[in-house]
Amino acid sequence: MNTFADKVGLGWRADLAAGILSHLDRIDMLEVIADDFFDAPRRDIRALKTLASQVSVVLHGVGMGLASSVPVENERLEKMARLVEQVRPQFWSEHLAFVRGEGIEIGHLAAPPRTVDTLNGAAENLSRAAALAGSRPMMENIATLIDPPGSTLSESAWISGILASSDCDLLLDLHNVYANGLNHGYDPKIFLRQIPAARIKAIHIAGGKFISAPDGRQRLLDDHLHDVPDPVFELLEEAAALSSNSLTVILERDGAYPSMDCLLAQMRLARQALARGRARRIVAQEVFV
């Protein structure tokens, strides 16, 4: 039996609204994209607050670009702080990514060079974000198709360094770990042992697809348009076996929506993986005692 207060939820998407609201008995938590509400009219904020009054909500930012040697603009931090104040989420989160440079918007999450400069820059940005919003964000590892050039630190060392410097917890995206492991040649299970388990507080699961490179080889794209593959559930079991924290697991789906039954089935698989991991943890502790 899983005695941890683990929760399994779903990413809020307008296309899924009806399905989500009619199955709230099986959804512990909703994750809302914060950026969609930064400049929203008051009526939309009221709708979000109504939602938050019915189910636990977490806010997830996608556009700040906190993992950068460049200081994040105050305006972006203030928008998030204002929304956190209005919605009072269980927690808020952002990505270990940069998204722009000297006015050029990349339009998505990009992996910065994993260096001491970006580590220190991220820590500074996170300190300012926490001060303004009144709480530290959880930070999510990202998937990258390109091995970030100029890196002097491993991905696990860089992430661990930022978490230690900023005192932030980790939103561990397991499909990103799986994709980066496949694309850049490391074992995701070893990666999980290299990051601080005590910092893992929330988890993302998602799916993707293989795309062909010009040289004919394939890389895994984290597109959130496909079902969660079995190896990600295996990694979820590993994470649950490693972590002593209660975990919030969010299933992310950004399009090509399947039936609500299909999404609920994947959430059920997530609960089962959590239970298997927790059982392993309990057995391991009993053996140790």
Binding site: A14, D15, A17, A18, L21, D36, A40, R43, D44, R46, A47, T50, L51, Q54, S68, S69, V70, F98, R100, G101, E102, I104, E105, I106, G107, H108, A110, P112, P113, T115, D117, T118, G121, T144, L145, I146, D147, P148, P149, G150, N183, I211, A213, P214, D215, R217, R219, L221
Partner: protein, 95 residues
Amino acid sequence: MSAHSFEAFLARIYVDVGARARFKANPRGEARRAGLSDEECTALEDIDWVGLEMAARSFARKRQSNLNRRRALPLWDRLRQFLVILSKRLRFHEK
């Protein structure tokens, strides 16, 4: 300052097809022209070329997808209506 320039250079070659083509034709020359250090120029010469092309295409698709999503924002209006109806029903049942 150089770390900022390095990130800006990456953003440019991820987004701008012309800048990427010039960089592919002359990696060190383009990096040097952007004022990057010798060490950074060398890092860019050793870039994951396959990953660069795949990432750039992926970013372009994402930008287009974000644009389409913004155009479809009236969905939130439909959601708001749904929530208003739902909360009224809940209040009715509570009474």
